[in-house]
Amino acid sequence: MSVRLEKVSFAYGDTPVCRDVTWQLPDSGVACLWGPSGCGKTTLLRLLAGLERPDSGRIQAPGRVSMVFQEDRLLPWLTALQNVTVVGTEEDTARRWMLSLGLTEGELQSLPDALSGGQQRRVALARALAADSDYLLLDEPFNGLDEDTWRAAIPWIAEYAAHRPVVLVTHVRQQAEALHAALIPLAGVPVSGVLCPAENL
């Protein structure tokens, strides 16, 4: 069973964001929602994460989701390492992921407030990648990371995407290209109809 939106409509108050949206995620690979800000990308991710209920239509999302939010959303009272293990990841696994993303052992034991913005972002990425999950949602995951750092994270996401679906939201073309993402153009709200990858953008 794959992840799928079926004729989903959704509105924030009086503002319709989705109208009869149908979208089937491929079983693997990265799909990149592409469009100007305010075009419903984050809302689509929230629907897929189960954080919003559609007003009508059906969301089929089998298995467990993992996510990098637009903000880091780290628990300020836990160390970086605990922030990754708190979602159910074994400590060894968590440590391995965090070190591979370029964090040091000292940073693992620090509270989020003591880390730089880029380091906090890496903790959030590690939490999402290390968590046992069936699909991954990335909302501007490389925000605040310099190019060298996000490029270093690409192989890990690509590895995840080799056999599970990943949805990426980004404004940076190179990030989508580096992940060989299928670009799904969104023109603006309300998003409507069947979403499918653009042939050439």
Binding site: A49, G50, L51, R64, V65, S66, M67, F69, E71, R73, L75, W77, L78, V86, V87, G88, R127, A131
Partner: protein, 249 residues
Amino acid sequence: MCNKWRRPLTAAGVALFWLGVWAVCSHLIGQELLLPTPWLVAASLWRLMGQGDFWIAVGMSLLRVLGGFAAAVVVGVLLAVLTTRFSLVHTVLAPVLHVVRAAPVASFIILAYVWLRAGLLPAFIAFLMVVPLVWENLRQGILHTDTRLLEMARVFRLGRVQRLRYVRLPAVRPYLEAALTTGFGFAWKSGIAAEIICWPDRSIGQNMHNAKAYLETPEVIAWTVVVVVLSVVLEWLLRRLFRRGEVAA
């Protein structure tokens, strides 16, 4: 070395200064009944502390106030959870909160004296003072818990217990601590006030009332010193307890 001693020395200096002011004032007035000298009060306190009844009264007063305080914390937490969960409960109970907060303590003491035995009254008054404080503070804490963190916990499927332990409790902790430390001071002072009005047996308030009746001003002040010292010591203990908890968590 110099810095280490600076604060205690300053504090001692300030204390000495005010004791001096007190001594000078009482000498100028020259009437033990109106304002006894500090040493008369100290002597009176020393004499009281030598009596078994003193310690029983202090212990019983503490027990009553702590009992009311503990019950208030339990009820306050329950009310905070219920009123944030169900808005109807909040609509119904909110006026009670406002009434209890706005009405003077003394009127509750007199009113409750009609219903309750004198021995239960201080506990009840302490309870009444602390419930709104815990309730309202914790309610604010719950309402101000970062929804983004709660969403994160939902997406990553943290269980009920884990959500409580790692998201909810740490988020409301500062609110609860503030409520408990200020609440304890409230409970203690209003509990003693209730004792002074309704004189339960074996209590600080009854002793203060008797001392006043016999025009023993040094003894009234000595008892007041006891109340103040206990208030400071217990609040300090409470704060230490929280700090210990923080390290453990």
